[in-house]
């Protein structure tokens, strides 16, 4: 049907999703978009993304504290905490490159205190809930959960980069999705080394 409508370069993926070996996202098409309205200005987008990264950072720090006896887990989740710090740094740098100014983090913190404020992590889960879930689980399960959250964030940022009309906003989302992709690859390596 696509070919008969005149489209070129159409490919069907053999085997469908069952054959897919890469990262897999979950949730409906509009998942996460309640946070990022396509009409948001880039300061708001940066504020929200930063807030979600703060959330992920709290989660990872919580996991570091929980697996206090496990040296490897300490290293892995400690790495994840610093990865989130780097994401935030790059996010702010991208914003500054685009606008010429640094975003006012205190102003953003106040603005987003009611809606997000670091209580929600990337992937849209409440940090408290994620930490409670993790209580009875082991390190590999916690890593898998981290991956699932990060993949959903990746999914969201790709979609937002396509949906947004503002070219600066698109660049922010592209930056975010690139960071997530790198992050995911590292997480996958960590999981493999653990198994």
């Amino acid at each position: 049907m696509l070919l008969s409508s005149g489209m070129q370069n159409v490919y069907n993926m053999e085997g469908g999703i069952r054959a897919w070996q890469g990262f897999v996202a979950h949730g409906p098409p509009e998942a996460g978009m309640a946070y990022f309205s396509p009409a948001a200005n880039i300061e708001e987008i940066v504020g929200l993304a930063w807030s979600l990264e703060e959330g992920s950072k709290s989660f990872y720090q919580g996991v570091v504290n929980h697996f206090a006896e496990d040296k490897e887990a300490q290293e892995m989740f400690g790495w994840l905490v610093s990865a989130e710090n780097n994401h935030e740094k790059h996010l702010l740098e991208t914003y500054e490159a685009l606008t010429g100014v640094r975003p006012d983090l205190d102003k953003l913190r106040d603005k987003f205190r009611d809606s997000v404020s670091g209580a929600v992590m990337e992937g849209g889960v409440q940090v408290k809930e994620a930490l409670a879930w993790m209580e009875g689980k082991g390190v590999s399960e916690s890593l898998e959960m981290a991956m699932a959250m990060e993949v959903n964030a990746f999914d969201l940022y790709i979609k937002m980069s396509r949906m947004t009309e503002d070219s600066q906003a698109r660049q922010i989302f592209e930056k975010l999705s690139e960071e997530e992709q790198l992050h995911l690859e590292k997480l996958a390596d960590l999981l493999e080394s653990r198994s």
């Binding site: 049907m1 696509l2 070919l3 008969s4 409508s5 005149g6 489209m7 070129q8 370069n9 159409v10 490919y11 069907n12 993926m13 053999e14 085997g15 469908g16 999703i17 054959a19 897919w20 070996q21 890469g22 990262f23 897999v24 996202a25 979950h26 949730g27 409906p28 098409p29 993949v151 990746f154 999914d155 790709i158 979609k159 980069s161 396509r162 698109r170 592209e174 999705s177 992709q181």
Partner: protein, 73 residues
């Protein structure tokens, strides 16, 4: 448009080829379309895939940019 179109089948790519193509390209450089049902999409989908169930494809062709390569699954 003639009889030869009936024999045209959509070229395929392996999942590994798709994975590599997506890793190398910018999200804005291709269309990635999931033609399954919403429940299946919710359960699992390739990050960045747009859901257009097969039955809706004809009406929603405008959502697929013809200038870019399109990968479907």
């Amino acid at each position: 448009m003639g009889i030869m179109n009936y024999f045209k089948s959509v070229p395929t790519m392996t999942a590994e080829e798709v994975r590599q193509a997506l890793a190398e390209k910018h999200p804005g450089e291709y269309n990635l379309v999931d033609v399954r049902q919403p429940k299946e999409y919710e359960r699992d989908h390739i990050p960045g895939a747009k859901l257009i169930p097969l039955a809706e494809l004809k009406e929603r062709l405008a959502e697929i940019d013809p200038q870019k390569p399109t990968i479907m699954y």
